[in-house]
């Protein structure tokens, strides 16, 4: 867990991104030419609700994601953040409501479908396969093969993994090491790298990507998110419990409470103190 002091340190270094290679991964060179201008709405949800048996996880969610913007999504445990992410990524289907992607009403049938559209996710549990090496985790379910033959191109996947991790500035000594042998922070870095690496990503959903990271590693990832944002073609949603990080890196903040979004404001118009107050007000012990 990071202490607030550590976070301030990482945040302060946010502007000094020169320590990290300026170009951020192979997918950056593959410019998606037809992408719209920064600020365009790339994805929106309207009146989304989702029940799990008696639990009303999401009641009436309205949310807009814009290109070139990092949206911070905060809320208490159980507020529905992960459920919302899993709907946006096609893992769950909403009970009602509409999802628009690139202006068209879209039903996200599966994770594969969402990925094909360009919606990439870092799940809270990271979706890492501990028994597989780093490079196969980076290519999980989109392994390269010698088409039309079904055999894996291991050397090519290792090479590209090495390149991607180096370009992002993540230190993983050996891409052939099993992921189960790495630290929590390294595993999270790989999970982020995997979604960033995707060639056609338009929306990047990160469910607590910084949870197991030290301040230094978290700083790496936050700088990476800023660089991705500055490209202007990517909409990023960041779930985090550390409001200092949220205010520092995000352009806009949404607060999810009891299955509804109750707060939507640019992050420069709010503060860590205000966000803390909003989330904790209803549970205050003293009057």
């Amino acid at each position: 867990m990071t202490s607030p002091d550590d976070v301030d340190g990482a945040g302060g270094a946010g502007s000094g991104g020169a320590a990290v290679p300026a170009q951020a991964g192979p997918r950056e060179s593959a410019a998606p030419g037809k992408a719209g201008a920064p600020g365009d709405v790339v994805m929106s949800v309207e009146h989304i609700s989702k029940r799990f048996g008696p639990v009303h996880a999401l009641r009436d969610i309205n949310m807009t994601l814009r290109r070139g913007e990092i949206l911070g999504l905060i809320g208490d445990n159980g507020a529905g953040k992960s459920t919302l992410i899993k709907i946006l990524t096609g893992y769950h289907q909403p009970d009602s409501g509409v999802i628009r992607f690139d202006g068209r009403e879209t039903q996200l049938r599966s994770v594969v479908h969402a990925r094909a559209l360009g919606i990439e996710t870092v799940f809270q549990d990271l979706a890492m396969v501990n028994d597989l090496p780093v490079y196969l985790n980076l290519f999980l379910n989109r392994e390269l093969t010698y088409r039309p033959l079904p055999f894996l191109r291991r050397a090519e996947m290792r090479r590209r993994s090495r390149e991607a991790l180096d370009a992002i500035g993540i230190s993983i000594p050996n891409v052939s090491a099993e992921v189960g042998q790495l630290s929590g922070g390294q595993r999270q870095a790989i999970a982020v790298a995997r979604s960033v690496y995707a060639e056609n990503a338009k929306v990047l959903l990160l469910d607590e990507p910084l949870a197991a990271m030290g301040a230094k590693e978290a700083g790496h990832i936050l700088r990476l998110l800023r660089r991705l944002k500055e490209r202007g073609d990517l909409a990023i949603v960041l779930i985090a419990h550390n409001y200092a990080q949220v205010v520092d890196v995000c352009d806009r903040v949404n607060l999810l409470q009891h299955g509804e979004i109750t707060f939507d404001r640019p992050s420069r118009e709010t503060s860590v103190a205000e966000l803390l107050e909003l989330v904790h007000a209803e549970y205050r012990v003293k009057a």
Binding site: Y91, S110, V111, V112, R115, T121, F123, D125, L126, A127, M128, V129, N130, D131, L132, L136, L140, N141, E143, T145, P150, F151, L152, P173, N174, S176, A177, E178, G180, Q181, L182, S183, G184, G185, A212
Partner: protein
């Protein structure tokens, strides 16, 4: 070793684990690329050593029996060992796939038992042998699919599903055979290919091992199988169709078990309802586990299962030759399984150190 818990597979970023990492990085400041390559080579060697160590134990056991018993090093005896191990290997090849994806098929032994009687049912209806075998194998595949669908649709543990299926199939075998052995087809080229000619069952076993090993380690399906066994939720979140992978592996395991039963029946010359059963299934699972397959899923190799079966076959045969009570075989088998698991745990600790 106190305080060192090798069973902890999920790593915690504990402070205790960082000093070795620093040590590993320190010695090669001049050539990080070369150091990395060396570490990778050492790591790969240790991973391979899992199979290698079983192979070494096999050789050691063979040498022991060659020295102490008479007649171990004859071609006839090698053939005997091949006859022991071939059915175990064929069943184990399917069990490895299932174990790696976190499942098990306890009914495979009775698929092995039933399959020959499925064939005789079809030949009894006047079907030639080849289509009868194909139809029999299709039914075996269907049994596997039923196992898989009950597991995936109702989320019932495969241990339970296939336990029930095992008893069901045992009963079906006794019904189909009237609890009597029948003579197997004994002539024709197909009979020779399917077990009758001297080494054909072993050749089939080796071909199946080669194919399944390539499927497991060199195809997207194999990687998916490992992912499903290692982290089912994560695999699903990555868009892997976990249920389909499980179902296919249930079908593969059942079909291979049925094929093994047909080959073995034709080799012996008689279809016997007491052949196969739980003993064959447990020996196949034991072969897989001794060969390094994790019972809880995520890792394992078909080649390892081949070597595990070979070790069991050598010991079984050696005991027979040296006149040791055959009942003692089970004692050795029990010790071998636990010892193999301890070795696996120890090797994974070594690998963990090597790759840091």
């Amino acid at each position: 070793m106190s305080g060192n818990t090798p069973a902890s597979t999920s790593p915690s970023p504990s402070p205790a684990s960082s000093p070795p990492a620093a040590e590993a990085a320190a010695p090669s400041p001049s050539g990080p690329g070369r150091g990395r390559g060396l570490a990778a080579a050492v790591g790969r060697g240790l991973i391979r050593r899992r199979e290698l160590s079983i192979f070494v134990v096999c050789v050691a056991a063979a040498i022991y029996f060659a020295v102490t018993g008479s007649g171990f090093t004859t071609g006839e005896n090698y053939h005997t060992i091949a006859q022991y191990v071939a059915p175990w290997i064929i069943v184990a090849a399917g069990e490895v796939m299932l174990l790696v994806c976190g499942q098990i098929d306890l009914s495979a032994g009775f698929v092995f038992t039933l399959a020959p009687f499925l064939v005789t049912t079809f030949t009894g209806d006047g079907l030639p042998l080849f289509p009868a075998v194909v139809c029999g194998l299709l039914l075996c595949a269907a049994i596997g699919l039923v196992n898989g669908l009950i597991h995936t649709l109702f989320n019932l543990a495969s241990f339970i599903v296939t336990l029930g299926m095992a008893f069901f199939l045992e009963g079906m075998s006794l019904i189909a055979s009237n609890a009597q052995p029948v003579s197997a087809p004994a002539s024709g080229w197909l009979v020779s290919v399917l077990g009758k000619s001297r080494w054909s069952e072993l050749i089939w076993a080796l071909v199946i091992v080669a194919v399944m090993q390539v499927v497991l380690s060199s195809t997207r399906f194999g990687i998916g199988t490992q992912a499903v066994g290692s982290n089912p939720v994560g695999a699903a979140e990555s868009g892997i169709r976990t249920n389909r992978i499980k179902n296919v592996n249930f079908v593969v395991a059942s079909t291979l078990a049925g094929f093994g039963g047909i080959l073995d029946g034709i080799r012996v010359g008689s279809f016997d309802p007491t052949n196969g059963g739980n003993e064959t299934m447990f020996l196949a699972v034991a072969s897989a586990v001794i060969g390094g397959t994790a019972l809880l899923g995520g890792s394992g190799t078909v080649v390892g299962a081949l070597l595990g079966a070979l070790l069991l076959g050598i010991v079984y045969d050696g005991f027979n030759l040296t006149g040791v009570n055959a009942n003692a075989f089970d004692v050795v088998l029990g010790i071998a399984i636990v010892a193999a698991m301890l070795l696996n745990v120890y090797l994974s600790v070594l690998r963990k150190r090597a790759s840091r």
